[in-house]
């Protein structure tokens, strides 16, 4: 799937596209993840193979404890697989050091977490500008871009509010603004609507859909079928394995 960034209104000047003719954005090959807690071993992922092309919108569904978050952390380079190979844009991430991984997270990936993960001491725009601080963007430009991103999520009037002074839906919109401010090619969202009421959830999903239409590759984790319905493709995960989709319409194996 090819992508056009021109649709993007706010940051049309800056974009990271992977070469359309090149390798898939995400390529998992027999990825396993084993957590060790004392003597106890938990196999959170038991051999996941998955390919996601540029510009795809993929929903990952599965029951609680099936390994969805574990998968997202590996996709986002926040954690490393215990076995198997993960190639991000053709590059085997196990060969990259911590500094390089930090750069990749900073420039290519935008995260939206279920618990928002905003810094409580910083105002909305200071939270949004954080990735730009680490990208080495000059201060004036950071503020401009953070304000533009907040404008996109409809929070121009809450720029100087701290997270504690915002509703859950507004906080998640701030987090979404933070995910898109660097104009990343890949957006990873782990149950972004899990803590929101239906109208706030619709706002956030609308934003994600917009990003997809702007050419971003999206991986959305959820266990709500109607949330997954917005995606082009749904992968189901169960007990750490990808399972075939039997009926795309009626949700998961619960």
């Amino acid at each position: 799937m090819t992508a056009e960034h021109a649709v993007l209104p706010a940051e049309g000047t800056r974009s990271h596209t992977w070469d359309a003719a090149g390798p898939p954005v995400i390529e998992l090959d027999g990825v396993t993840k084993t957590y060790r807690t004392g003597t106890l071993e938990v196999d959170a992922l038991r051999g996941v193979s998955l390919t996601i092309d540029e510009g795809e919108y993929v929903a990952v569904m599965g029951p609680s404890g099936s390994g969805k978050s574990t998968l997202m952390h590996i996709l986002g380079c926040l954690d490393v697989p215990s076995g198997g190979v993960y190639r991000l844009a053709g590059e085997d991430v196990s060969t990259l050091d911590e500094t390089r991984l930090a750069e990749i997270r900073n420039q290519r990936i935008g995260f939206v977490f279920q618990q928002f993960n905003l810094l409580p001491t910083l105002t909305a725009w200071r939270n949004v500008e954080l990735p730009l601080v680490y990208a080495g963007v000059e201060r004036h430009e950071r503020r401009e871009r953070a304000l533009a991103a907040l404008d996109r999520v409809g929070l121009s009037d809450r720029v100087e509010h701290r997270p504690g002074e915002l509703s859950g839906g507004q906080q998640q919109r701030v987090a979404t603004a933070r995910a898109l401010v660097t104009d990343p090619a890949l957006i990873l969202a782990d149950e972004p609507t899990g803590n929101l009421d239906s109208s706030s959830a619709a706002d956030v999903l609308g934003l994600i859909d917009e990003l997809h239409r702007a050419g971003r590759t999206i991986v959305l984790i959820t266990h709500e079928p109607d949330v997954a319905a917005a995606a082009q493709r749904t992968e189901r995960i169960r007990d750490g394995r990808i399972v075939p989709v039997t009926d795309p319409g009626t949700g998961g194996h619960r």
Binding site: T99, A102, R105, N106, N117, L119, P131, V133, Y134
Partner: protein, 410 residues
Amino acid sequence: MNTVETFRTGLEAVRAHRLRSGLTVLGITIGIAAVILTVGLGEGAQQQVAAQISSLGANLLIVTPGSSTSTAGIRGGFGSASTLTVADATALASPTVAPDIAAVAPTVSRSETLTAGTANWTTTVVGTNPSWLSVRARTVSEGRFLTQADLTQHAAVCVLAPTTAQELFGGRDPVGQTVDVAAVPLTVVGVLTPVGASGSSNQDDQAVVPLTTAATRIFGGANRDAVNQILLEATSTQTLSAAYQEANDELLALHGITAPASADFSIESQQSLISTATSVDRTLTVLLAGIAGISLLVGGIGVMNIMLVSVTERVREIGLRKALGATPRVIRRQFLVEASVLGLVGGVLGVGLGLVGAVALPHLVHDPIAISGAATAGSIAVAIAIGVVFGVYPASRAAHLAPIDALRSE
């Protein structure tokens, strides 16, 4: 992320935990102030002693009877029968023998009771020659000092130090009055200018008489040529060691001693007196500074403790910053800056407190405090170093947190 941003983030973190940062800073502040004050007190005491000793006479060498090296055989009559004579002094005064010696003052001294009318006062009577005034770096405030004529005539005259004059004559002018010493009536011809007390001997309480008068008319005794000390004045500070060498060689030759180790006299410079006196103070200073240093160390451990608490408390924040692209280097620097800001603020406040103390304390304890710029700058550097050194471990712990473990923790 550039340095300015790192500093901004570090400062924000310090500000966000005001009370905690404040208490940590307090530890450093007290430590630095304690070091500055103890070192200042010690320096002040050393300078005071050095100033007092050098006020006794510049470029002064003191020859005393007795061996200077106790390990080399028998000491030559230390303090008892003197091995130094007027002839020794005369020989040293010769410019051909000792060109680097400017003036020579042999002295004999003894404690005597002085009587003037109904007043009497016991003090040190010093018999010497006119050179004594310049060798001792003294001046006369009233009347005149001893002359060569007084010496040759065994004149019955004396010069009083100010305290002695005050004790004997009260407010009256002593010049021209008569003082009885060991039943010998002496005419007061002058009064010395005060110089202040120094160590055990009070330089403002003594009576100076001609050496000849003292030997023959006041002290008497079997050996009238013997002297207690010979004071030498070198021509300059630079020639002090040459003067020492000339005096040493000449006296060894005069006394017929071949091995310098068995010399029956010793020569001391003011410099050696100063170093003896100040070394005692220095030992005390080092001890006090050591104790103050320990309080500084405790302050440093406080910084480390706070930084570790801060890392543990902010695991989630660190994880999030890493997820958003902070490299381990950036995280480490952020925490190092935080720690050194604590150290810097503590150092500056500590120096401030130390300076206030340096102004206030002398009024309470009547001891001078010498604060040097180098010590002050050094203290601030030490405080920052403490922040950095004790911040390194917490900072590297923060830097090496796995982003996901950090994010997951509640």
